[in-house]
Every structure is written in structure tokens, then in C-alpha cells.
Symmetry: C2
């Protein structure tokens, strides 16, 4: 630590990385999906809660179950993407804390708490992991296309039925077509959204 | 894109990066804080909402305002850290969408929506940006110490009073003392939390 990573790496994970909607006809190996998760789980969560859960929708059969649950603008690009990951969070994440955070009784901090506290906690920490997932995929050479527009209750039922997992967002994975990119949308600059006090 | 970043970079942002609680007596320049934000804002959010807001608590005076609002276990490490960032999210993020997402009337998708939809949307996208922030800081050579244990209403009043910004989580920044690290806590493996369908 102590020094920035080399420019090519900063380019790949932030500066030149873009959200893709058009995909090359190039498959994504299952091994690469495993490596994304191996990196993702290392990122920090509060009390090591690690609530995120992942379903990689890759087969034509699974794609057919997912596509009708997407908002119309998300269907064609998801059908064309080699993989669409469903990023969810486990509302009973605390059941695993005796193993994940063994030095304190962290399960007792959450068990029996109201749905709104649990929902906020699982959403916050599951979303941190969702962002680690995006960066990990980019770091491994993939392009990403995260999406919010879908029928959450429908996806929960179809892909997480009978479990305490709720869907959070979706993320297409593959090798994007750079020729299809438009200019990056505007971003805030430091002084608009930040202060040093 | 198409290839993984070099091993040293993967180490720095994921494999060897750790949450720190002990800090070297080495300051963090304001320019480095600016560079973290310049990278953070590039990460994707739904409809480019970009709801995250940042206060870098750096001066002794500002630290004294923050410390009493932290849970007791977070006080000493935050006092010792060169900087503590408050990561918040703007509940009126949609006011900026005509500029950030100019090709559609995205403001109308959110304005007047119920507090729970807005809260979930701002929390989800603000937290994605919070994770980009952690990775950006690591990529620039800093160590991080994210924390959830604090009085959110108190921090909102003290640092975001009179604005629609709510605090999400805190993150100490600096150069950690590697000698103070304990072994990494356990993580899930792929098959426990993931499936390819």
C-alpha cells in the first residue's frame, strides 16, 4: 500500500470502464464467474455480515425465465449478454455471524430486530458487495451492465423462492462492444458534493 | 479490457487490502481526497443518480464534533485516523437528473414518490458509490476503515443539518499499521452463496 496502482489498472476499473449494453459474441467461462466471487467476498461489510447472494443466469432456459421479469428497455441487451447476474441479499444474514464474526455474539444484535432495521442493514451491506462485484468483474477483464429496472417480487419468486433472499439489482456480464458506447454522462465535481472540514 | 489487471493491483484493491483500526502518524493531503472523489463519481449508478455526498472530517475541531456521535468502540480509532469520511446520500437526488441524465425526464420517475421508494433508491445507489469510494481510496494507496456504528440522526443534524442529505456510513482514511492487523475473518466460498443456472 501507500502508492497508487498503475495507470492501466485505474483505467480498467474506473477511468475507462463504462456501462455496456451491446455485447460481443464471446462467452464467459464459469471459472471467471467463480473468480469474481472470490474477490467480491473479500471487500468489507459491517461485522463481516456478507449478506450478498448471487445467481448467474447463463443458460438459454434460465434466460427465458428472467427476460419477462425485466422492464422492456432491459430485455434485448440482457438476452444478448453472455451472463446476467442477479445480486440479492439474505434477510437472515445474521444466522451466519457465529461463523463469520466469531469473537462477538453479533447474531444477537440482529435476530428479532424489526424488518426495517434488517432490510436497511442487508441492503446497505449487500449493495457494498454488489459494487465490489462490479469492480471485481472489471478487474478481471469483463465489462458490466448493472440494471435496476425489473420486477423484484417476480425475480424473488422465480430465482429465490422459498429462501429469505431478496433481489437487489442485476448486472449483465461479458465483453462489450466499444463501438456502441456513447459519451459518458456528466458527473459531479468535488466541490458540488464534498467538503473537507 | 478483456484481461485481468496485474497481480499487484488486485492485491492492493482486494486480495491484500484490509480494514484498519490503527494508523501511522502520516497525514493525508487534501489533493488525495479530491482524487478519491474524481474516481468515485465515475462508477455506475441507476440512471446516473449519483446520490452520494461526502464530508471529510479532518480538522481537530471537526473531529471533536464527530467523536461523541460514534459508538464507543469506534472513537479511539477515529480520533487517531488522519481523516474520517462521512458518506451520505441526498434524498433529493432527482433534482439533479435533468443535468445528469438529460436524454429522459428521469426526475419525473422519482419526484413525489413515497419516502420508502426514495430511501431505498438513494440508499442503494449511494451505497454503490460508497463501495467505489473504498476501492478508489485503496487504489490510490490509502488504507480504509469503514464503520456503521454511530448516531445517524446526530450526524445528520451536526454535518448535514438543513439539507436533504442523510448519513449512510463512515470510513476512516490514512495509512494503516500492518503490525496491528489480525488474521482476516472467514469468508463464504462460491458454492455457499452463488449458483450458475
Amino acid at each position: 500500500m501507500g502508492r497508487p496502482i498503475v495507470a492501466e489498472c485505474l483505467d480498467q476499473i474506473f477511468l475507462k470502464a463504462r456501462t455496456h449494453t451491446k455485447w460481443q459474441d464471446r462467452p464467459v467461462a464459469d471459472d471467471l464467474l467463480r473468480r469474481i466471487i472470490d474477490l467480491t467476498v473479500l471487500g468489507p461489510t459491517s461485522a463481516n455480515q456478507s449478506p450478498a447472494r448471487f445467481v448467474f443466469v447463463k443458460s438459454p432456459e434460465a434466460k427465458l425465465r428472467l427476460i419477462p421479469l425485466l422492464s422492456e428497455g432491459n430485455r434485448a441487451k440482457t438476452l444478448a449478454a453472455p451472463v446476467c447476474a442477479i445480486i440479492g441479499y439474505d434477510m437472515k444474514f445474521y444466522d451466519h455471524l457465529p461463523r463469520l464474526f466469531p469473537h462477538e455474539n453479533a447474531k444477537a444484535w440482529f435476530e428479532g430486530k424489526g424488518a426495517s432495521v434488517l432490510e436497511t442493514t442487508a441492503l446497505r451491506n449487500g449493495t457494498l458487495q454488489g459494487a465490489y462485484f462490479i469492480i471485481a468483474a472489471r478487474a478481471l477483464g469483463l465489462d458490466t451492465g448493472p440494471m435496476s429496472g425489473f420486477d423484484q417480487a417476480g425475480v424473488d419468486l422465480e430465482f429465490f423462492g422459498g429462501t429469505p433472499v431478496k433481489s437487489n439489482f442485476l448486472c449483465n456480464l461479458g465483453y462489450g462492444d466499444p463501438a456502441a458506447l456513447r459519451p459518458r454522462l456528466p458527473r459531479f465535481v468535488f466541490d458540488e458534493i464534498s467538503a473537507i472540514v
